[in-house]
Symmetry: C2
Subunit: 170 residues, 2 copies
DNA sequence: GAAGTCATGTAACGGGTTACATGATTTG
DNA sequence: CAAATCATGTAACCCGTTACATGACTTC
């Protein structure tokens, strides 16, 4: 049920249309919470029906600009303060590691080396991202930077780990 | 589509029933790829229909022990060597960080401190897990240890990051 | 013989992905 | 006026979760 909260969160900054939100997802939330166009539009309709957002303005081409209602803001705060985040996330990448034993040691090492590569690239592209963004002083920027720092540290950790793991295979 | 590969992977070690697999999931794969009982049983039926596994033996109470077929092993190897793992995983925890700006600085700091706590506990319980397991010399153990090391490093990284992030909030 | 464990299966529902479908407005 | 972009909506399908349902065997 987090998509709805992601939408509420983005709308808490400023009103936006489905189209705007789709782009915000692709640019800022993509790595943390990807969402598709169809998903966003259907969820926006549900949120409006539930009274958590409203159509604040209409524009050309049927554009509907949504804004957060008081109720929506309350729900967002409730989610942030009263509900526990869940720790378990599925990881395709780690699942494979469990079963590397069915491969030859060389192949297993190759997989881990690929992960080193992937993590290094991830770090690299986050650095580029950090430079390309013109960080405003708004909330999304402040906390966006903190999330980005997480990404940097995460990739560095994974790179080191994969390097170590590759060395473990004899 | 990774549940099927998780099942194939576990069956590559030794034959097992749905019931056995359910427990293996709960004990060894829970943090990386959780699965429910209903999911496991339905997927096993599909895998058997597809010829990737077969009922190798039947036991009391309708117990069906499944074993990997050659085809199943081929599919497992194919998955491990030829298909790219996908990097993006959704994170409830990080999504919240983006929107901490709607809370007071104190509340935001409280959330991050909670994450410090959660990560420290995660690390702790992984240490206990490591001690409680009697590590065999089989493949699952070798690579299981590597995955566990990942968990330790991950939690340590997240703890440090959350501590740092809490300090960023003025 | 009661309680616990072993053992399997199915149905309803919710969220996410892919694909289809349409059309208005702006820009070169 | 053609191409690009803006803009929304819906349908089919897959995967995962929760809940329901049933019964055989073992242990105390």
């Amino acid at each position: 049920m987090s998509l709805r909260h992601a939408l509420l969160g983005l709308l808490s900054e400023r009103p936006a249309s489905g189209y705007d939100l789709l782009k915000l997802f692709d640019t800022s939330l993509a790595t943390v919470w990807p969402a598709t166009q169809s998903q966003i539009y259907t969820e926006l309709t549900k949120l409006a029906d539930a009274g958590l957002i409203t159509v604040a303005a209409e524009g050309p081409r049927g554009r509907k600009e949504y804004a957060l209602t008081e109720q929506g803001m309350a729900e967002l705060r409730h989610w942030l303060t009263e509900t526990a985040p869940q720790r378990n996330t599925r990881s395709d990448i780690l699942l494979r590691v469990f079963f590397l034993g069915v491969l030859t040691p060389g192949q297993a090492r190759a997989y881990l080396t690929e992960l080193v590569e992937m993590s290094a690239q991830g770090e690299e592209s986050l650095r580029h991202l950090a430079e390309s963004i013109d960080w405003d002083d708004d909330n999304l920027s402040t906390y966006g930077r903190i999330v980005l720092e997480y990404g940097l540290r995460f990739n560095a950790m994974r790179r080191d780990w994969a390097e170590w793991a590759a060395g473990q295979i004899t």
